[in-house]
């Protein structure tokens, strides 16, 4: 049967969107690739029990705060399908294709809410493909979903609130942290300072950030600031990381290196649908263009949560509700006046969460030497092993855009479909041409956005609406 509202992604944005839409009597379907709900922040929450009172809480109180969202989806009349990987979507007519247990399904919908969140910005430094080098979020995933206590000497490098959080969580779990290498510079602090007055109006968020800094300071771990020239070393696996701190070269031995430079919207789905995107300069990423409700350049297609721009989990929750309210109004399930009345609290919550963002966006601006790697041997495209020098060489022979680069070098043609190299390629080409990344553009994204076995394609199951159309 055709869904009134199809929601992709069961993080805070998708969970609140689906719950809200169902409250208005709409037929709601919620698809998520993960085995359990919660998205990135509340990953595996349904399978974890909070520690008893008095015991150390490694993941922290914010993690357990996702519980009401899970309870709400349990009680809502929502067809929630876990383990469902969306591999294609179309706007005209609105259709979504997903893979579940090796079988593929095609479903029609009247409106679509994309809540596929964010992922960590790739950190292309020499040696980042070595085993033992991961993103900081990957280590956190092991802690959330696998009860992991990470072994060996750990070095964290980069910047961003999530890097601070993972450092604190590792400290609490008793991990051996050999160093925290912060790429944030004095200049970033100065640039951020003018956004402090606004951030002061988000006092509890600011307090949490300062608390994390205090925890790190009090732990006595080695911290370097203004770090550049990061390079991971090792033969079969990482054994150390070298860097410059305020101009002085240094090196730390390590068994595990965790890289992080903030998170960026996961635009695979919005690019596939050819929606309008805009370049967000402070954090150097693309985000889909949306109105106050999250509606995109395609009517009835919404983006909720960090997939529309990074505002954090509580704002994601609010934006999910807003998208659902507008979808309900458009589908005739809710008069506009009631929509506006019910949206008030969500608009207020979103605005409150956004107050700290200008400060964070400027303080943790991804450094130029990371977004645009200078060492010619740095691998940019991990799948096809295309280096900075290869891209420069292609440009010298006339290649001037990311899509052309695919044909020249296979860059972006591997299984990750450019998720790991797309931003870097646009930045490198923009710098070389002396224009903005927006002018250079991004890879054209084509279906399937996730690999699908041929056998599943052949045996695709579609609803009548899709077949008839």
């Amino acid at each position: 049967m055709k869904a009134d509202v199809m929601v992709i992604g069961a993080g805070p944005a998708g969970l609140s969107a689906a719950t809200e839409a169902a409250r208005h009597g709409l037929k709601v379907m919620l698809l998520d690739e993960q085995a359990s709900p919660g998205g990135q922040i509340y990953r595996a929450l349904a399978r974890n029990t909070p520690p008893p009172a008095g015991a150390p809480d490694i993941l922290g109180e914010d993690y357990w705060r996702g519980r009401p969202l899970l309870d709400a989806i349990d009680q809502a009349a929502v067809e929630y399908v876990p383990g469902a990987t969306v591999w294609t979507a179309e706007t005209d007519p609105l259709t979504v294709g997903y893979l579940k247990d090796e079988r593929s399904f095609l479903r029609a919908a009247r409106s679509l809410i994309i809540a596929t969140g964010a992922y960590e910005r790739p950190v292309p430094v020499p040696g980042w493909t070595l085993p033992g080098v991961m993103s900081a979020g990957a280590a956190q995933i092991l802690m959330k979903a696998g009860g992991a206590a990470l072994n060996g000497r750990i070095v964290l490098a980069g910047s961003g609130p999530l890097l601070q959080l993972v450092t604190c969580q590792l400290l609490k779990s008793g991990a051996e942290i050999a160093g925290l290498l912060e790429t944030t510079t004095t200049k970033d602090y100065l640039a951020a300072a003018r956004h402090l007055p606004r951030a002061l109006r988000a006092r509890d968020l600011l307090r949490k950030g300062l608390e994390m800094r205090r925890t790190i300071k009090a732990s006595g771990i080695r911290v370097h600031k203004g770090v550049t020239n990061l390079q991971c070393h090792g033969k079969e696996t990482v054994d150390g990381i070298s860097f410059e701190s305020r101009g002085k070269p240094d090196r730390i031995e390590a068994d595990l290196v965790l890289l992080h430079e903030g998170v960026v919207p996961h635009v695979q789905m919005s690019r596939l649908l050819d929606l309008s995107h805009e370049w967000f300069e402070p954090q150097r990423y693309w985000r889909p263009v949306v109105d106050e409700w999250g509606e995109t350049s395609a009517k009835g297609v919404f983006i909720a949560g960090d997939g529309a721009g990074i505002d954090g989990a509580r704002a994601a929750e609010a934006s999910g509700r807003l998208a659902a309210l507008q979808a309900a109004a458009q589908l005739g399930a809710l008069p506009n006046a009631e929509r506006d009345e019910q949206a008030g609290a969500a608009f207020a919550q979103k605005a409150k969460e956004q107050r700290i963002r200008p400060l964070l966006d400027h303080l943790y601006r991804p450094p130029a030497h990371i977004v645009c790697p200078e060492d010619p041997s740095t691998i940019v495209c991990r799948c096809e092993e295309v280096c900075v020098r290869d891209i420069h060489a292609c440009m010298e022979t006339g290649c001037d855009g990311p899509n052309q680069l695919k044909a020249y070098s296979r860059c972006g043609m591997g299984p990750c479909q450019g998720r790991m190299c797309g931003l870097t390629v646009s930045e490198l080409m923009a710098k070389q041409r002396g224009v903005t990344p927006d002018e250079v553009g991004y890879y054209r994204i084509r279906t399937p956005i996730k690999p699908i076995p041929l056998s599943a394609l052949a045996a695709m199951e579609a609803d009548e609406e899709v077949v008839a159309s």
């Binding site: 690739e33 993960q34 085995a35 990135q40 399978r47 974890n48 029990t49 520690p51 008893p52 015991a55 490694i58 990987t85 992922y119 960590e120 020499p126 040696g127 493909t129 070595l130 085993p131 033992g132 080098v133 991961m134 993103s135 979020g137 990957a138 995933i141 092991l142 979903a145 696998g146 009860g147 992991a148 206590a149 990470l150 072994n151 060996g152 779990s173 390079q231 991971c232 070393h233 090792g234 033969k235 079969e236 696996t237 054994d239 150390g240 595990l256 996961h266 041997s377 991990r382 799948c383 096809e384 092993e385 591997g414 299984p415 990750c416 998720r419 790991m420 996730k450 690999p451 076995p453």
Partner: protein, 110 residues
């Protein structure tokens, strides 16, 4: 690469499952992704790059980087970080021969 926190096991009582990696038994817990189970067994690498033969291992653990591709029960190129373990699952590392035109030097050896 990691141990299980004792209090996590005590609080959640996860059920044990056994999978194999290239024929060797690997103990895991229900709810683990295949990639997490493999990393807990310290495999050094989980695949070799089809381009240069360089060793690789999971990078993102959330379905983005595709570094965790393995063969599962005879099916190649499965995303190990997105697939939950099942008792008796047979996992193989993909180790293709290096391509002819693979770069001879590795810039990042220390």
């Amino acid at each position: 690469m990691f141990n299980r926190r004792p209090e996590w096991r005590a609080d959640n009582q996860p059920r044990r499952v056994t999978i194999t990696l290239d024929g060797m038994a690997v103990e895991a817990f229900e709810g683990d992704s295949v990639a997490a189970a493999l990393l807990s067994a310290n495999p050094v690498f989980t695949r070799r790059s089809p381009v240069s033969g360089a060793p690789r291992a999971p990078y993102c653990m959330m379905g983005i980087c595709f570094e965790c591709l393995v063969e599962i029960d005879g099916v190649p190129n499965r995303q190990a970080c997105m697939i939950p373990v099942r008792d008796g699952m047979a996992v193989k590392r993909q180790v293709p021969p290096p391509a002819v035109n693979a770069p001879a030097e590795s810039a990042h050896e220390s």
